[in-house]
C-alpha cells in the first residue's frame, strides 16, 4: 500500500527592524552576550512593553502578500512556559485573534502548480539563546535575541512531499525578500522552520497522528528530515506500530530524527490576554495603504519579464530568484534595450565571475551603464563577442568602462577595409595553393585564409569583414 506524507510548515522569520519588538534595544546580529538587553527584554518586574510600529506594518505587508485577510484589531496573548531562555516565563504572542488568516502561496514543483493554504500569519517575540557547556552541568544564556520581532507563518497541511516543502520555503523566502521585511538568513537565525508531518494511505482524506520535527538549519535539512521522517512513519505502520504524537529533533550528522522526550504538560500554555498591551484598533486606511504600497512580487515580475520584455520563461525564472539581480537586469535594459542579450551576459559571464568570488551583483564593480556600454561596442563591431568576454572580466575586476579598456589595450577590432585589404592580399600571396583550392570550390579553404589574417592582426580583425574582403579579392 502506498503512503503519502501530509506536511504543514511553521516558519518564523525575524522582521527587519532596527530595534526590538517591545523595547529600544538594537536588533543587530552578534555583539557581546547580553549587551543588547534592557529591563524590558530581560523581563524585569514592572516594565511595560510598547509595540514597535514598523514591526506591525511589516507584518501587515507580509500577511497581505500571502493573500491573508488582515484583522482590524491586533491583540496579544501571553504564552506561559518555563525555560531558561524565556526571562518573563511567558512569551508575548498572538492566540485566538491573530493578525491575519486564510492566505495562500502558489508553488511549482515538477512543472505542476499547487496552492498551499496559509492558516495564519501572526506576530510574536523571540526568546534568548542557550549555549550548553561542553561536558559540564551548566547552560549559558544570552538574551540579545530576546524580544526580537518575529512573524510566524503557519501553513495548512497541504504539502505532500519533501520537495513541495522545499519549494514552499524557497518561494516564501523569495516573497519575503521582495517585500524587504526580513533577511531570511537561516544561518543568522532570521528564518527558522518547524515541520508537522503525518502519513496516510494515498487517496485517503483523513489525517494521521503527526510528529513535530525541529532543529533543521537549512531548507535542504528540512527536505532530508522530512524524507527520513516519512520513511520512519511508513516502517512504523507497516510493522503494526502506532505513531506517537511527539517532538523529534533532526540530527544532521547522523541523518535521522530522534524523539525529544518532553513532558506532556509542557504543552499547556495557559494563554491569556496580555494585560500590558491594550488591543490595537488599526486606523482605517492603514491596511489599504500597505496593500497599495506592496512592491511588484516575484510571480508578477516573472510574467512581465516574459510578456513585456520577451524573455524565455527559463531566463525570467532565473533572474527573479534574486531581487538584486532582477533589479540590475532591469537597469541594464534601460541603457541597452535588448533584454535577451543582457540576460545571456548576466546569467553567463557575469554570474560565473560573481559566484566564483562569492559577490552579489549589487557589490560588483560592473554597473549597469558599464555592461550596456560594452554590449554597444559589440553591436557597433568595434570589438568581437569573444573580445568582450575578456573585457568584461577586467570591467568586473576594476570597474573601468569598456571604452577605456579597449583603447588602453589597443583592443579595437580592425574593421577598416584599407588596412584589412593589405593583410588579405598578403595572406593570399603567401598561401597561393589554398587560394586556388578555394577557387576550385573548396569552401573551407577560405576559413584558413581568414585564420591567417586574424593571426597577422593578432586577433583584432573583424572576422566578418575579413571574410568578405577575401571573397571579393579571390573572385576578381
Amino acid at each position: 500500500m502506498a503512503y503519502e506524507p501530509v506536511i504543514g510548515l511553521e516558519v518564523h522569520v525575524q522582521l527587519k527592524t532596527v530595534s526590538k519588538m517591545f523595547c529600544g534595544c538594537t536588533t543587530e546580529f552578534g555583539g557581546a552576550p547580553n549587551s543588547h538587553t534592557c529591563p524590558v527584554c530581560l523581563g524585569f518586574p514592572g516594565v511595560l512593553p510598547v509595540l514597535n510600529k514598523r514591526a506591525l506594518t511589516e507584518a501587515i505587508r507580509a500577511a497581505l502578500a500571502v493573500g491573508c485577510k488582515v484583522s482590524g484589531k491586533v491583540k496579544f496573548h501571553r504564552k506561559n512556559y518555563f525555560y531558561p531562555d524565556l526571562p518573563k516565563d511567558y512569551q508575548i504572542s498572538q492566540y485566538d485573534e491573530p493578525l491575519s488568516e486564510h492566505g495562500c502561496l502558489k508553488i511549482k514543483t515538477g512543472g505542476a502548480e499547487k496552492t498551499i493554504r496559509i492558516k495564519r500569519v501572526h506576530m510574536e517575540e523571540d526568546a534568548g539563546k542557550l549555549i550548553h557547556e561542553e561536558g559540564g552541568g551548566s547552560s549559558f544564556v544570552d538574551f540579545n535575541r530576546s524580544g526580537m520581532p518575529l512573524l510566524e507563518i503557519v501553513s495548512e497541511p497541504d504539502i505532500n512531499s519533501p520537495e513541495e516543502a522545499y519549494q514552499y520555503l524557497t518561494d516564501l523566502k523569495l516573497l519575503l525578500r521582495y517585500l524587504d521585511v526580513s533577511d531570511c538568513d537561516m544561518e543568522k537565525g532570521s528564518l527558522r522552520c518547524d515541520a508537522n508531518i503525518s502519513i496516510r494511505k494515498k487517496g485517503e482524506a483523513g489525517l494521521g497522528t503527526k510528529a513535530e520535527v525541529k532543529n533543521m538549519n537549512s531548507f535542504k535539512a528540512v527536505k532530508s528530515a522530512l524524507e527520513f521522517e516519512f520513511e520512519r512513519q511508513v516502517k512504523c505502520l507497516e510493522a503494526g506500530e502506532r505513531i506517537i504524537q511527539e517532538t523529534r529533533l533532526w540530527d544532521p550528522d547522523k541523518g535521522l530524527t530522534a524523539s525529544m522526550r518532553s513532558k506532556e504538560e509542557a504543552h499547556d500554555y495557559r494563554y491569556f490576554p496580555e494585560p500590558d498591551l491594550v488591543p490595537f484598533a488599526l486606523e482605517s486606511g492603514l491596511i489599504d495603504a500597505e496593500r497599495k504600497n506592496l512592491p511588484e512580487l516575484p510571480e508578477a515580475r516573472k510574467a512581465r519579464f516574459v510578456g513585456a520584455l520577451g524573455l524565455p520563461e527559463y531566463d525570467a525564472e532565473v533572474l527573479i530568484q534574486d531581487k538584486g539581480t532582477a533589479d540590475y537586469f532591469e537597469e541594464c535594459v534601460k541603457f541597452y534595450n535588448k533584454p535577451k542579450t543582457v540576460s545571456n551576459w548576466l546569467m553567463g559571464d557575469v554570474s560565473g565571475y560573481l559566484n566564483a568570488k562569492n559577490l552579489s551583483v549589487r557589490d560588483s564593480k560592473l554597473k549597469p551603464p558599464g555592461l550596456a556600454g560594452l554590449l554597444k561596442e559589440v553591436d557597433s563591431g568595434k570589438i568581437s563577442g569573444k573580445m568582450a568576454k575578456d573585457i568584461i572580466i577586467e570591467m568586473l575586476d576594476t570597474g573601468k568602462d569598456a571604452g577605456a579598456i579597449i583603447s588602453e589595450k589597443g583592443l579595437a577590432q580592425i574593421s577598416d577595409s584599407g588596412e584589412l585589404e593589405k593583410f588579405a592580399e598578403e595572406a593570399i600571396a603567401e598561401n597561393a595553393k589554398t587560394a586556388e583550392d578555394f577557387l576550385k570550390g573548396k569552401d573551407n579553404a577560405l576559413m584558413f585564409l581568414v585564420g591567417q589574417v586574424m593571426k597577422k592582426t593578432k586577433g583584432k580583425a573583424n572576422p566578418a569583414a575579413v571574410n568578405k574582403i577575401l571573397r571579393d579579392k579571390l573572385s576578381k
Binding site: V18, S19, C23, T26, P33, V50, L130, S139, F140, R270
Partner: protein, 95 residues
C-alpha cells in the same frame, strides 16, 4: 477542584501544602460559583463581547528607534550565577 489546583500549581512551579490545596480549592469554588451565578442570571449572550482589557483600546506605539541598552554589569547585577557575560543556569538538555 483539588486536582485542578494541584495541576495549575505544578504548571506554575508553585509548591503547595495539602492544607493550601484545600484552602485555595474552597476559595476558587466560591469565586467560580459566583461567576456561574452571574452566568445563569444574566443573559448577555450576543449583547456584550468578551472583554480582555478594562479600558477602551487606545493604540500606543513606539517608533522603530534604537535606545541604549543596559551596561553589562547592570544586566548581570542580580544574576544568581554568571559566567563571563552570560547568565549561568543548570544544564537544560539531557543527552
Amino acid at each position: 477542584m483539588e486536582d485542578k489546583v494541584r495541576y495549575v500549581a505544578r504548571l506554575a512551579r508553585i509548591k503547595l501544602t495539602d492544607g493550601e490545596v484545600g484552602l485555595f480549592s474552597r476559595q476558587l469554588d466560591g469565586i467560580l460559583g459566583y461567576v456561574d451565578k452571574l452566568n445563569r442570571k444574566l443573559d448577555i449572550q450576543g449583547k456584550a463581547p468578551p472583554m480582555s482589557h478594562p479600558h477602551e483600546a487606545s493604540n500606543s506605539f513606539r517608533a522603530d528607534e534604537v535606545k541604549p541598552s543596559l551596561p553589562p554589569e547592570k544586566v548581570l547585577a542580580n544574576a544568581p550565577q554568571k559566567k563571563g557575560d552570560f547568565f549561568k543556569v543548570p544544564r537544560i538538555i539531557e543527552e
